[in-house]
Point group: C2
Amino acid sequence: MRRARSTKRTVAKPKGAFHHGDLRWALLQAASLLLERDGTAGVGLRATARLAGVSQTAPYRHFPDREAILAALAEQGLTTLGDRMAGAAREAKDPVAALNAIAETYVALAAERPYLFRLLFGPEVADKARHPAVRAAGLRAFDVLIGAIGAGQRAGVVRAGEATDLALGYWAAIHGIALLLLDGMVGERAAAAGGPAALARQVAGQAWLGLTPRPAR
Amino acid sequence: MRRARSTKRTVAKPKGAFHHGDLRWALLQAASLLLERDGTAGVGLRATARLAGVSQTAPYRHFPDREAILAALAEQGLTTLGDRMAGAAREAKDPVAALNAIAETYVALAAERPYLFRLLFGPEVADKARHPAVRAAGLRAFDVLIGAIGAGQRAGVVRAGEATDLALGYWAAIHGIALLLLDGMVGERAAAAGGPAALARQVAGQAWLGLTPRPAR
DNA sequence: ACCTGAACACCGTTCAAGT
DNA sequence: ACCTGAACACCGTTCAAGT
């Protein structure tokens, strides 16, 4: 936290006139608060401006439209996701532990900040070509997983093959279970498995079987 | 199609007064059209009413709020998904082909009707407890997959274990790749694999490895 | 440059009223 | 029962204007 957070209706507004160039930062801070509290639908241009203590039209100085604010939040979120995945992988003692840690981190962020997680991959930021920074942040997170798969291959615990393809299959599985958990589609299975995290570990374990060296066929 | 579709601004409005009890159906038809054309955001109460040729408040006779319309669309969509999956499994000649056909059908629906697919699992219908019919339709689709896994176990091509758990891991993988494809996150990989469907087959194949009988450990 | 207030064309929802 | 029009409190976005 680089700045004290006010509990009043406005956030980080000095007193009178200008934001000295960090209005963009203040707006993103406000938008992030609204996202956590009210979901994507709550991140309105007017609502964000109100919370930041500026006029309704001030955000247009920094963002061309509402989608641009959401895209900036998504980029922040994907960077956070990538950083956490990289941190988890770095602290693991072997490639298998690294993959498990990545899966755990991934599902944990989805559970911790569901609205943010949906925003990262959802349709609100539809035209990814218009927001290359979002796409780049996402690919950077994916790179962490590819790296862990590659390390597994070098250690001989992951089967041969294009690391990107193997990573994609694993990613799909943990991405899928994270979303199914958010959607409340697998509540009973989670209860039976001993909680959402346990169910995610189970699914990750099954995905892991797709990565192990195959016996002679 | 139970009724001719008009190309005018209104749909299925006889001429003068009442809908003789099928206003609900006409509203859902209009909402479905709007969903395909403009996405979830386009499915407004007023816009739907306008397209159906009734006043803005008429929908409230059949749906308590906007979310209820979206939930009804989601229920329809999940039923369609389940039916298609069941049809694909029925026509397959063995359990392995059935699983492949289910995965293909799943990803195909996501590609064919992206807005509908997102609605099925997204946050627009947030409180699933308030919409048990949606949840039931989703679980029915899942049952098709569980059945295919069970058939594979009986045929000896799928390893032993709780069929529901094995199905969940497989579901997560195809659900994940379907969404990653929609999100435009794996466009390059899809091109390299020979198209989205080919990439989905590849991921399904990897998920399949999690289902095969294990060699002696 | 940066920010403002008024205006435009929309929303979802509520309410009193009509047949 | 079923449908209507007016009203309320919101939206995103545009525009002319202010410092």
